[in-house]
């Protein structure tokens, strides 16, 4: 895959009509050049990629060594297809081979050639129908894959062992089911005749069990080839005739999908062109009116991109185009419109904030790619570590998931509400509540993505979408600014934006419905609740076509912040998300693990018990999916360390085994999250600190109050220490001399002379000790001048302190 022509740097692509008309001179386009070359695309074209560096040419039907990013060792893949992509500039679809070393010996078919572990042909591969897209940059080199007969004919030595392989069987993608012996050469022949048949054939062979249909009578490859051959012949006749006509016709004859892609491609390009022109227009305008800047449409575009990742290029472009058009809608008129809306008195203050034309980006900070070094590091890692890495990535909350298990009902309900509202062009307000980490935002985003998908298929009317997060705004009023910027493309001050919005929503106008997701709504609170009120109120205007999805933690928020009269009028549709149940959390984890690559799945296994344990623990407390995932990820980290330690000591052969993540790892991770560091902290405190705490405890016991004055604590400390002489505690201190005691140590006015009986009234650095305890969050103290009359109280549980002090020999006697 290559996302854009730029990614193809270093590669050249050649469109060759290899199969149909080999004598035609191939059309050549250099990647760095204009994309226009894509337009001249033939019906039965085949793309050939050529690496400029070493003239390596690859095309469909080749076998290549692929080093995927993040993988430890290169894998071998069979290129099924190279085409101009839908989402990407060029799609390379491959089916993977599995090396015999990666398959458990026990799983190998019980055939004589696999009878002994030592006699395996190390260069044997198994073909799978595990299709995947790869990146051009991942291709390392071409390799030879031979059938068994061919393989026997050649000599394998050091020179070719790394790039010559043999295939005689296929297997399922898990490496557990195997086909009978097949002839690879014939397979490739089949491929060249018809790639789809080839895929079907191998799939039918490898995943037989999945096909529930009654077994078809076995078709020999050869027969199949013949069948296709004859079909082809009959089909091919007509195209050939048309092929001879001029090249412009070729576009018309392109059949099925190819046509669509090309069409879209063209559209995109046209728009690109237009956009550029517009940019120029805008630039000119800006020279005239420096105070007015167009909002940065790049930014909008980027935002859109984030929210609708799954959308393909064309609709996105078109929305951008609409925005452009809107923005272009003569700045003069929009400004005069804005002026007309804003009252004259405000006019003086009315100014359009300048929008920065280009946003800074961290991309510039990113390090240059150090290819050689990078791969070197990767190669040092073995496959198991690799698998650990991948499993952690999949368990990270930022991982993009394809579905949200356990939220199907909510999804459907939100979807229908929104769909209906968009369809009828009515305003609507949806209120979603629930505790953190239970998929509120994720579900809404998913709904929007689906709706946008269906807009593409013209099943739903087009709509705009905006996301506002209450906690990502510094002040609630900024919400107006953001919303108005989305609508008009101009940045104005929040106060003005509010007026403009009010006007905008209350006037009849032909506009697209606008869906606004207000995340963390409860943070958009102002003194008079204006912002929240407005966002609830606007949808109720007949003309607004505004759909607000409000997301917050508390269920009764509208009642709490809005008067009853208003909230009853709003007609909120409410929905409460419940915490994930144990089963649902398990599903979430399983869903993410299912996305692991085949290799990693075999290497590191998160046992069912372990994931159950984690989900049970979390569902009992919060049902927070984030928490569950974090725990699992941490458990994997712990297991990884364990694994590394083992490997370093034993030096066994971990390559062959898979590592299991067990309940013990999970419970370790959970303990880390719930264990508070308090008791450990208390244990390490010096004696004087403990004495203060002990005195506070005693005082509490005597007075029966939670808060005691520091004066009482001071007296208590002194008395306890005077009364108390335990042999154990003074043993260490006696090393300093016969007269030494804790009393001397802490109170003596001259610690270097214990015979002197002058005592201070407080222990040494008393103030500092109390302050530090307060700073550590163990006690809180009243902030008043003087010492004796300030009140102190414990902020951690009494029991915790008592249990720690009891364990301490030096002080336990005083308790």
């Amino acid at each position: 895959m290559a996302k854009s022509a730029r990614d193809l740097k270093g590669w050249e692509y050649i469109i060759a009509e290899a199969k149909v008309a080999e004598n035609d001179s191939p059309l050549k386009g250099v990647a760095s050049g204009r994309r226009s070359s894509r337009r001249v695309k033939a019906a039965n074209e085949s793309l050939v990629l050529k690496r400029e560096m070493d003239d390596l040419e690859i095309q469909a039907g080749d076998t290549v060594l692929v080093h995927q990013k993040g993988a430890t060792s290169p894998e071998i893949a069979f290129i099924k297809e190279i085409k101009f992509g839908n989402d990407n500039f060029i799609d390379i679809v491959v089916s993977w081979f599995i090396r015999i070393q990666d398959i458990d010996f026990e799983d190998l078919p019980k055939a004589e050639e696999y009878s002994s572990k030592n006699d395996l042909i190390q260069n044997e591969l198994f073909i799978t129908m595990y299709l995947e897209g790869i990146f051009v940059s991942e291709i390392v080199e071409k390799v030879n894959v031979l059938s068994l007969d061919e393989f026997k004919d050649i000599l394998i030595d050091d020179s070719n062992t790394s790039n010559t392989f043999m295939v005689r069987r296929g297997c399922s993608s898990t490496g557990e089911e195997f086909t009978n012996v097949l002839n690879y050469r014939e397979l490739t022949n089949l491929f060249h005749k018809d790639p789809n048949e080839f895929v079907e054939y191998v799939r039918a062979e490898t995943v037989r069990s999945a096909y529930n249909s009654p077994k078809k009578e076995k078709v020999d490859i050869k027969e199949k080839i013949e069948k296709i051959e004859s079909k082809k012949k009959s089909r091919r006749r007509s195209p050939i005739v048309r092929d001879s006509s001029d090249s412009s016709n070729e576009e018309d004859i392109s059949d099925d999908s190819g046509d669509e892609y090309k069409g879209l491609g063209e559209e995109v390009e046209n728009e690109d062109g237009e956009d550029e022109e517009e940019d120029h227009d805008v630039d000119d305008d800006e020279d005239d009116k420096e105070s007015v800047h167009l909002s940065d449409s790049e930014e909008e575009f980027a935002g859109g991109h984030r929210n609708r990742k799954r959308k393909s290029a064309s609709p996105k472009k078109s929305t951008a185009k609409v925005k452009r058009a809107k923005a272009r809608l003569s700045e003069n008129t929009s400004i005069s419109y804005m002026n007309s809306v804003l009252s004259p008195s405000k006019k003086q203050r009315f100014k359009i904030k300048s929008a920065n034309i280009s946003k800074p980006s961290l991309a510039s900070l990113s390090p240059q790619k150090k290819k050689g070094k990078g791969t070197l590091i990767v190669e040092e890692m073995d496959k198991t570590s690799e698998a650990f890495r991948e499993i952690k990535a999949k368990l990270h909350t930022s991982q993009i998931v394809t579905s949200l298990p356990g939220r199907e009902d909510e999804f459907a309900s939100i979807y229908t509400s929104l769909d209906e509202a968009i369809e009828h062009g009515t305003g609507c307000c949806l209120y979603i509540s629930g505790t953190p980490g239970i998929g509120k935002t994720a579900t809404v985003r998913e709904v929007i993505a689906q709706l946008q998908e269906s807009v593409k298929n013209e099943a739903t009317k087009p709509f705009d979408y905006l996301e506002i997060n209450g906690l990502k705004l510094l002040s609630p009023n900024v919400a107006y600014e953001v919303l108005w910027e989305k609508i008009s493309g101009f940045k104005v001050t929040p106060a003005n934006a509010a007026i403009l919005l009010e006007k905008y929503f209350s006037t009849e106008e032909d506009r697209k419905p606008l869906v606004v997701l207000m995340d963390e709504l409860d943070q958009i609170v102002t003194q008079k609740q204006n912002v929240m009120y407005n966002f609830f109120n606007w949808p109720s205007y007949a003309t607004s076509k505004l759909i607000v999805i409000a997301v917050a933690n508390t269920m009764d928020l509208p009642e709490r912040v809005l008067s009853n009269k208003i909230s009853s009028r709003l007609g909120l549709r409410r929905m409460e998300f419940k915490g994930y149940q144990f089963g649902q959390l398990g599903e979430i984890i399983a869903h993410r693990l299912a996305m692991l690559s085949e290799q990693s799945k075999r290497r590191v296994i998160l046992t069912k018990d372990a994931s159950n344990f984690a989900s049970r623990k979390v569902s009992n407390v919060t049902g927070d999916a984030r928490r569950a995932l974090t725990i699992c990820r941490r458990a994997v980290e712990i297991a990884e360390q364990e694994f590394l330690a083992n490997r370093n000591t034993e030096n066994s052969k971990p390559e062959e085994e898979s590592f299991h993540i067990l309940i013990t790892h999970i419970s370790k991770a959970i303990n880390e999250t719930i264990n508070s560091p308090i008791s450990k902290f208390l244990e390490s405190l010096p004696f004087a600190y403990k004495l203060v705490l002990m005195a506070i405890l005693l005082r509490m016991k005597r007075s029966g109050l939670g808060e005691n004055s520091l004066g009482d604590v001071i007296d208590e400390m002194r008395i306890s220490l005077q009364m108390f002489t335990s042999k154990e505690s003074s043993q260490i201190i006696h090393q300093l001399g016969p007269n030494a005691s804790l009393m001397n140590m802490l109170y003596s006015s001259d610690i270097f002379d214990f015979d002197n009986n002058n005592f201070n009234i407080r222990i040494h650095s008393f103030k500092r000790i109390v302050n530090e305890l307060a700073e550590n969050g163990i006690i809180t103290q009243q902030n008043v001048p003087g010492e004796r009359y300030r009140l102190v109280h414990l902020t951690v549980s009494e029991e915790e302190i008592i249990s720690v002090l009891k364990r301490d020999k030096e002080i336990s006697g005083m308790m």
């Binding site: 980027a302 800074p360 990535a393 140590m745 008043v784």
Partner: protein
């Protein structure tokens, strides 16, 4: 002590050793790599950073521990090591809540540091095709700045996902972390943790705090986004451990022995402190110093401070710090503020203080005004004068009664001045200035002790008790018996 006395040392050597050791004591020395406990924490932290930088994972953690237990030391060390290994692949943003006291300032600081970094890299690549326009993260409007930061961090690499391996990781180190939780909304923390959870840019948020209960201070939403991971550092748990850690700062590095004219001096220097602590026949001041520190604050930096004076005193005729000098620092410390004030009082002020303390003791009331104190003073002094004479009889009594040493009973006018000076010294405190609101939070009156004139009947509190006065008064002080009721 014999071998230490015999050692002949050149003045150059003494200077070299003194400079080096003073440098170490004053903080130019990371007490690291020897302490096992810190080493473990360091490894944990380093792993965390490495996962962020190398594997591009988002992480968050809290580093909690009392002051001067090496929190910042291990962070710096970890970042240093990271820099040497993954130079240019990450950038560090440091915030300190005492400096960046609210979210707005903190955001501006983040923007500024990002800008700085961009500039630095630009200057670096000026010959290359990279030429960035003059856009900054920091904008005039704080909202724009905020939006900019979020956008670039959150969104950064979505457009170039296939090059994800080249994105830069960002490590946030936030010191005094708990202060950011004071803010009700915790906007900054929410966003930072959210980035660490959901951003495609690898973001590591490390909060540094002294408060053990920091995690409980996080708001629910913020907590859900936080990984719950806490790394703790703690003070040494035993005296031996404390001593092994503490002495490291006093030792002269063996690799520097060669720079000395007499390498023997270096060796002796290093054994000298062990000798003072353990092997000396009598109990040394140095040993007491270590014990005192261990029992009260257990703070190595404090210990170094108290050694500094002694080390600074060495010269070629006495190349090792004398044990006697080690007591200097502690003895010159102010033991307690109130105690110091009382010691400095004039006689009449002291008597008035005692009278007030007596009254408080008698009636078990906390507040007192001048009139009450003066009445107590009068009766107390009358009693005192009576008692000094009553014991004597006969001729002697006559003799003495003629020379009766009566302590003068000062008029209330004079003592009013004393009362005022006690108030100004802070021995008397405004009472009733303290109220608590419904939630139990204490509201203090900001104008406490700001009044210059104190009225006769104004109720005040005395910050010392009779018992305490008697404790530190010398036995031969004539007024000591007044402190007994």
């Amino acid at each position: 002590m014999g071998k230490f006395d015999e050692c002949q040392v050149s003045s150059g050597d003494v200077r070299r050793v003194r400079d080096q050791i003073m440098h170490q004591l004053s903080g130019g020395f990371a007490n690291f790599g020897h302490s096992k406990q810190l080493k473990e924490k360091f490894n944990e932290l380093y792993m965390l950073f490495e996962h962020t930088v190398n594997d591009k994972e988002g992480h968050s953690a809290l580093l909690i521990g009392p002051r001067s237990t090496g929190k910042t030391t291990i962070i710096n060390k970890a970042l240093e090591e990271l820099e040497s290994k993954y130079s240019g692949q990450f950038l560090t943003i440091r915030l300190n809540a005492t400096i960046h006291s609210d979210d707005g300032i903190a955001l501006r600081e983040i923007a500024r540091q990002l800008d700085e970094e961009v500039k630095r890299i630009n200057a670096f690549q000026v010959e290359l095709e990279y030429q960035l326009d003059n856009t900054n993260f920091e904008q005039r409007s704080i909202n724009d700045t905020f939006a900019n930061i979020l956008l670039s961090l959150d969104n950064n690499m979505h457009s170039e996902q296939d090059e994800a391996s080249t994105t830069i990781s960002i490590i946030f180190v936030i010191e005094e972390f708990e202060k950011f939780t004071n803010n009700n909304k915790q906007t900054l923390l929410y966003n930072l943790f959210d980035l660490s959870q959901s951003s495609s840019t690898a973001v590591c948020v490390l909060g540094v705090s002294t408060k053990v209960t920091t995690r409980e201070l996080l708001e629910r939403r913020v907590r859900s986004r936080f990984s719950q991971r806490i790394i703790t550092t703690s003070k040494s748990s035993s005296l031996e451990e404390f001593w092994t850690d503490a002495k490291l700062g006093l030792l002269f590095d063996e690799s520097l022995f060669n720079s000395l004219d007499n390498a023997e001096y270096g060796k002796l220097w290093n054994s000298y402190f062990e000798f003072l602590f353990n092997e000396c026949a009598q109990v040394t001041n140095f040993r007491k110093l270590v014990f005192q520190n261990y029992y009260t604050v257990k703070n190595i930096k404090d210990f170094y401070n108290s050694c500094m004076f002694a080390v600074s005193q060495i010269h070629s005729s006495a190349p090792f710090p004398s044990d006697m000098v080690f007591s200097k620092y502690l003895n010159s410390q102010l033991s307690n503020c109130v105690q110091g004030i009382v010691r400095s009082l004039s006689t009449s002020e002291l008597l008035l203080t005692i009278a007030a303390a007596r009254w408080v003791e008698k009636y078990e009331l906390q507040a007192i005004n001048f009139n009450l104190a003066y009445a107590e003073y009068k009766s107390m002094m009358k009693n005192y004068n009576l008692n000094t004479t009553s014991g004597s009889t006969g001729l002697d009594s006559k003799m003495i009664s003629n020379f009766r040493i009566n302590h003068k009973l000062f008029s209330s006018k004079i003592l009013r001045t004393c009362w005022e000076s006690l108030y100004k010294l802070g021995l008397l405190l405004d009472s009733g200035g303290i109220t608590t609101n419904n939630e139990g939070h204490i509201i203090t009156n900001a104008n406490l002790n700001k009044n210059l004139i104190i009225e006769e009947n104004k109720m005040v509190q005395l910050d010392i008790t009779l018992d305490e006065i008697s404790t530190f008064m010398d036995d031969h002080n004539a007024f000591k018996r007044l402190t007994k009721l």
